[in-house]
C-alpha cells in the first residue's frame, strides 16, 4: 500500500484521481461450474457476469477477465473474510482464489471528456454505443496493460499494476492536459 496520489493538471480536460483502496480477489476456475457460480453469488451477491461484462452494486462486484478468471471487487478490509469464505466453499473444486488488492492501483477518470482521454491511449472503440456501463475492457493503455469499466455516465474506474502507477498517472495527465480536447466522443456525451 502507498499514499494516495493526485494526478491531472489544473484545468485539464478530465479529472483524474487515484481510486480509494479497493479489495480485489482473483478467482480462477471453470466458470460454468455450479459450485464456483454459487460461491461467487454468496461472496458478492452478484451472478458470474457474461463475457466482457462486470456486475457490481455498492462497490461489491465481479468482473469477467477471461474464460477461466474472475476479479472480485469488495471493500479492502473485507478481503480476508471473503477469501476465507471462498476458499471454504471451493475446497472441493479445482479453483484458485488469491488476494491481489495491493498488486493493483486504480484511478477514477471523470468529466465529459473522460471517454476521449481513454480513447487517446487505448486501442478500444469507445463510441458510447460500443463501450457502455456494464462492460469491462482489458486492454493496452499506452505501453502497459490496464482494465476499465464505467461507474456512471462520464465516470470510469481504471485499474493497472501498482508498479506502473506512476507511469499510468503521468500518461493520463498528459492525455488530459489543458487544451487537449479532441471532441470525438465528448460531443455525443455532453452535447457540446
Amino acid at each position: 500500500m502507498s499514499e494516495p496520489m493526485t494526478a491531472g493538471a489544473d484545468g485539464g480536460i478530465a479529472a483524474i484521481a487515484e481510486a480509494p483502496l479497493q479489495g480485489m480477489i482473483t478467482l480462477r476456475g471453470d466458470l460454468s461450474d455450479d459450485t464456483i457460480r454459487a460461491a461467487v453469488k454468496s461472496a458478492t451477491g452478484q451472478k458470474v457476469p457474461e463475457r466482457g461484462m462486470i456486475n457490481t452494486a455498492d462497490g461489491v462486484g465481479v468482473c469477467w477477465m477471461s474464460p477461466d478468471e474472475l476479479l472480485i471487487l469488495c471493500a479492502h478490509g473485507d478481503v480476508p473474510d471473503k477469501l476465507h469464505q471462498l476458499q471454504e466453499s471451493l475446497s472441493r473444486v479445482h479453483a484458485l482464489a488469491v488476494n491481489v488488492s495491493d498488486a493493483r492501483a486504480g484511478f477514477i477518470l471523470s468529466g465529459p471528456h473522460a471517454r476521449d482521454v481513454l480513447a487517446k491511449l487505448c486501442p478500444v472503440d469507445l463510441a458510447p454505443d460500443r463501450f457502455a456501463f456494464g462492460q469491462l475492457r482489458r486492454t493496452r493503455l499506452a505501453q502497459v496493460p490496464a482494465a476499465f469499466w464505467m461507474l456512471g455516465e462520464d465516470r470510469f474506474h481504471l485499474i493497472c499494476f501498482r508498479s506502473q502507477k506512476q507511469y499510468v498517472s503521468d500518461v493520463l495527465t498528459v492525455s488530459a492536459q489543458p487544451g487537449s480536447a479532441v471532441n470525438v466522443w465528448s460531443k455525443t456525451i455532453s452535447g457540446t
Binding site: 466482457g52 477471461s66 474464460p67 478500444v124 482489458r138 486492454t139 493496452r140
Partner: protein, 109 residues
C-alpha cells in the same frame, strides 16, 4: 495495421493489443524424430505472399492464444478461430477460397 477479433473474449482491437506467435499448425518433432523432421520443425517456416495462418495471443486482454487467417499483402483478416485445433475450420477455408481463388498454404488449398 491488422484488426483482429479474439475468438475467446470477443474483443476486436488493432494488433498492438495482441502479440504475434508465428506460423500456425506446426507439427512438433522432438526427441526420437529424424534430423530432417527436427530441422524442419525448428527452422523452416512459410513466408507466403497472400494467404497465411498464424498464432496470436491476446496479450493485453484475456491472455489467451488463438489462430488467425490473413492476407500478407493486403493485411485483410479472413477470420480468427480457436487455438484448440490442428487445421483451419472448413467454413473459413471456403470463405478464403471465395476471396482468393486457387490459394494454397502448405498442404491446404
Amino acid at each position: 495495421m491488422l484488426i483482429l477479433t479474439c475468438p475467446v473474449c470477443g474483443v476486436t482491437a488493432e494488433e498492438t493489443e495482441f502479440h504475434g506467435g508465428g506460423e500456425a499448425h506446426l507439427t512438433r518433432h522432438g526427441p526420437g524424430s529424424s534430423d530432417d523432421d527436427f530441422e524442419d520443425y525448428l527452422f523452416m517456416r512459410e513466408n507466403p505472399r497472400g494467404v497465411h495462418f498464424e498464432r496470436w495471443r491476446h496479450v493485453y486482454g484475456c491472455g489467451k492464444w488463438f489462430h488467425a487467417a490473413r492476407c500478407t499483402t493486403t493485411l485483410e483478416v479472413f477470420g480468427t478461430y480457436p487455438a484448440q485445433t490442428t487445421e483451419p475450420p472448413k467454413d473459413l477455408r471456403a470463405k478464403i477460397s471465395k476471396k482468393r481463388p486457387g490459394w494454397t498454404w502448405k498442404d491446404l488449398a
